[in-house]
């Protein structure tokens, strides 16, 4: 009979405290003052900051690996008094801050998928981004499946599932009293991790009751999620996007509400556009990168003053095409994980499902 590994819910707190001695632990933490949940270090937990594993975080996981602003390097112009014609430039790179290994606990499966896509952008082929890798490497990802599916979730529509753990190292399933391990990485790192904390990973035989419970939860979640939107076929959608690209009237119609802010872009787990800028004061300066958003007027503004995507609908069309067309051609996958964050934060109620649906039915 199959052995079942599980963590008791009552020992969860001890487990997290224990691993925080050896690892930097990040959890979804809710600020009680304004209700926002974000990934943050376990060290800030107190009466105002509590762990919340139920709901999605406001910011996706990209916030940890690809922060809104990061310094790339600092530079300084140096002159020798004896040799004034020569100016030297001294560069200083930020040190490797990733000395301790990280554990990120309580991620939803959609965010795990978001990280897979970020890896495709920052860590595949010849495109290896050292700043991203510095934060991404040495990370153990512990994901918890979604026993509760909210109305704006639609991961099943685009090829995910509430219990598809993807590249997560450990996948857990919440059955109320316990967290059942349903996915375990084969790697040495994880074997060591399990062995180190074997007190918390308890084992028992699979019984009928638990099996039924698991099956029921999985079925129920999948069912609720699939009612939120229809299934999207990546192959058909690219053709549709191509054929509607020049239908300006359609795009104008569906994006009329949009106010071209960055709320949807900045909470998206897959949006990775950034801007690089130099800032200098006297002889010292810094090169940094920070998030940028394609619905922004300045995103495509050229030095001549011409802007190829002058109107909001043109910029929004690019955004949708980026997710539902261009990326599929390169990687055979939709560049959207179905977390529904963009729907949740939109100030004017733009719903990506409605927009894609009206393009499909055009």
């Amino acid at each position: 009979m199959e052995k079942l590994i599980y963590i008791k819910k009552e020992s969860l707190k001890n487990f997290l405290e224990k691993i925080s001695k050896d690892y930097d632990v990040y959890l979804p933490i809710q600020n009680k003052k304004n209700g926002i949940i974000n990934f943050d270090s376990i060290n800030i937990l107190n009466e105002n900051y509590i762990m919340n594993l139920k709901e999605k975080t406001r910011q996706s996981l990209k916030f940890l690996f690809f922060p809104p602003y990061e310094s790339l390097f600092e530079f300084e112009y140096k002159k020798d008094i004896k040799n004034p014609e020569v100016t030297e430039i001294a560069l200083s790179k930020p040190g490797n801050s990733n000395l301790r290994e990280k554990v990120i606990f309580g991620i939803k499966p959609c965010d795990v998928r978001g990280i897979d896509y970020l890896d495709l952008v920052f860590n595949s082929g010849n495109n290896k981004d050292p700043y991203y890798l510095n934060k991404r490497e040495n990370t153990i990802i512990i994901s918890i499946g979604c026993s509760i599916v909210y109305p704006d979730c639609f991961c099943t529509s685009i090829g995910g599932s509430p219990f598809n753990f993807g590249n997560a190292n450990i996948g857990l399933l919440d059955i109320g009293s316990d967290l059942i391990v349903t996915k375990l990485d084969e790697s040495e790192k994880i074997k060591k991790f399990i062995a180190d904390y074997k007190d918390f990973f308890e084992k028992k035989d699979m019984d009928d009751e638990t099996e039924n419970k698991i099956n029921e939860i999985v079925l129920q979640s999948n069912k609720t999620c699939s009612t939120n939107w229809k299934k999207i076929n990546p192959e058909n959608i690219t053709a549709k996007m191509e054929s509607t690209f020049k239908e300006d009237a359609l795009w104008q119609e569906i994006t009329k509400k949009c106010i071209s802010c960055a709320a949807c872009t900045y909470v998206c787990p897959t949006c990775v556009c950034f801007n690089i800028a130099d800032e200098q004061k006297d002889k010292k300066g810094e090169r940094y990168r920070c998030w940028d958003f394609c619905t922004n007027y300045y995103y495509t503004l050229e030095a001549s003053g011409h802007n190829p995507r002058e109107k909001i609908y043109q910029r929004y069309r690019n955004k949708i095409n980026c997710k539902y067309n261009y990326f599929i051609k390169r990687n055979k996958n939709l560049y959207c994980v179905g977390c529904g964050r963009c729907i949740d934060v939109c100030p004017v109620g733009m719903d990506i499902r409605e927009i894609v649906s009206s393009i499909i039915s055009f």
């Binding site: 974000n38 943050d40 270090s41 940890l64 922060p67 809104p68 602003y69 990061e70 310094s71």
Partner: protein, 145 residues
Amino acid sequence: MNFINEGSKSLNVKNKKEDVKIVAFLCNWCSYAGADAAGTSRLRQPEDIRIIRVPCSGRINPLFILKAFNLGADGVLVSGCHPNDCHYSEGNFYARRRLEVIKEFLPFIGIDKRRFSYQWVSASEAQKWQKVVINFVKIIKEING
């Protein structure tokens, strides 16, 4: 959100008591000339003030003042022609309204009201300029404690 906080500078950075940074915006026609006159008549003034010359006090955007605070100034001083005396006849009337709004607003974001002041100093008032600077620097040093 410890990630976001990295390297953030904050408004009203406290410098040491002896070492205060004060930014002064002076209008070209009256106050700058007044400060100049104070210099030529050898009136001693504290050296904590960095003077920026602007064409008119009406040229001063609220942004200038806030930016100065954001970059760590301990105090900001604005000085222009007396009302009714503006070289461009009405620049300082507009300025007066704007500057007063800023002055009233600063406490609301946690900056002491006394850290910002606007004064009218004409080209001939070298003595007044000296007193203004001495007193303003004194006040800022007091606040910094």
